[in-house]
């Protein structure tokens, strides 16, 4: 009996761990621009030796090693935008993420949600949802998992020029 329970747990466990990040996989489709970076990429990037003269480089690398998975989806398609909105709502209902910040900037609404780790400043998962103001604006959904500090994050978005970088800067100063 004990063996049976252990086997069952082992079978279910991976799906519990990975369940979170698959919710948005359906947005890998036509009409959506996507960038997806997986754990192995971060591991490999983190193992590159950078020029010690580049001050930022080491900080960048240290952060890279703490990242697990990055997904960014961007679309202007009205139907997909609606789908994104409802998917995010549904996701937030069934996952313990807190709204960290909400910003209205240039007609866009930027919402940032985080799931904290052991310490309040440690973030295990960050979800950013940017709703464009007009029909020409994109709606962006970004999911980043790992084990990092919020302060480190704004450093990263600056470097990678990801949408919402300035919002994150404000958020990390909180």
């Amino acid at each position: 009996m004990k063996k049976f329970i252990i086997t069952l747990l082992l079978a279910v466990l991976p799906s519990l761990i990975f369940a979170q990040t698959t919710a948005f996989d359906k947005f890998e489709k036509d009409g959506v621009d996507a960038v997806i970076v997986n754990r192995k990429m971060f591991e490999l990037m983190g193992s590159v030796k950078m020029d010690p003269k580049e001050k930022d480089a080491q900080q960048y690398l240290d952060l890279i090693k703490k990242l697990n998975n990055l997904k960014v989806f961007s679309t202007k398609n009205g139907k997909i935008i609606s789908d994104m909105k409802s998917t995010v709502s549904g996701y937030l209902k069934s996952n313990p993420l807190e709204e960290l910040m909400r910003i209205n900037e240039g007609g866009k609404t930027i919402k940032i949600y985080v799931k904290s780790g052991a310490k309040v400043s440690q973030v295990k998962e960050m979800l950013m949802f940017i709703e464009g103001g007009g029909p020409k604006d994109s709606t962006v959904l970004m999911s980043l998992t790992g084990n990092f500090d919020l302060n480190e994050l704004s450093f990263l978005t600056d470097r990678l020029d990801l949408p919402g970088g300035s919002a994150l800067k404000k958020a990390s100063k909180k």
Partner: protein, 172 residues
């Protein structure tokens, strides 16, 4: 027990896919040896030599799409995508944009990569698969090689068909 040993050979692999399509009229294939970078004009540093040594082979397979082979294009593109999923590749990253996409996949434990596959595809022009085989290609080595390529102004003549794929199709 015997079944397990036999099944390994029957699985479709990207390697087999390359071999299979070398003769096909829809495909363009290129095999680049690493000798192209080893010439007298350039003096290589120890790091650069080591990096080149780690790279053994570079194969390129290109499918150029036209009005007649559109259906075949879709079929082959799907087959490559499936192979990347089923043949134990680690997907490092993927980018999809309007007309097409790029994915980078590897095989190898930790940072000692044995194989790196770049898959580029564009809806109207075609797709390309670049397969680099090596022995302990660490990210460090890959970056060194990229630097070398830039330094040597590697003539893109050979890779022009690949560049063409990624250019958006101009409407006539």
């Amino acid at each position: 027990m015997m079944l397990v040993l036999v099944s390994c050979d029957q699985k479709p692999t990207l390697q087999k896919y390359f071999v299979k399509n070398t003769e096909s009229k829809d495909f363009i294939t290129l095999d680049v040896g690493t000798g192209f970078l080893k010439n007298d004009k350039m003096k290589l540093t120890a790091d650069e030599s080591k990096a080149l040594e780690s790279m053994q082979k570079l194969n390129v397979l290109i499918f150029k799409r036209n009005d007649k082979n559109a259906a075949e294009f879709d079929k082959q593109k799907t087959e490559v995508k499936n192979l990347l999923k089923s043949d134990n590749y680690d997907e490092l990253m993927k980018m999809n944009f309007g007309e097409g996409g790029i994915s980078v996949n590897t095989k190898g434990e930790g940072e000692h990569l044995e194989e790196c596959v770049l898959f580029l595809n564009q809806k109207d022009t075609g797709f390309g698969v670049v397969r680099v085989l090596g022995d302990d290609m660490t990210p460090q080595n890959v970056m060194t090689i990229v630097g070398l390529l830039q330094k040597s102004n590697f003539s893109s003549g050979q890779l022009q068909p690949l560049m063409d794929i990624m250019k958006p199709k101009t409407k006539k």
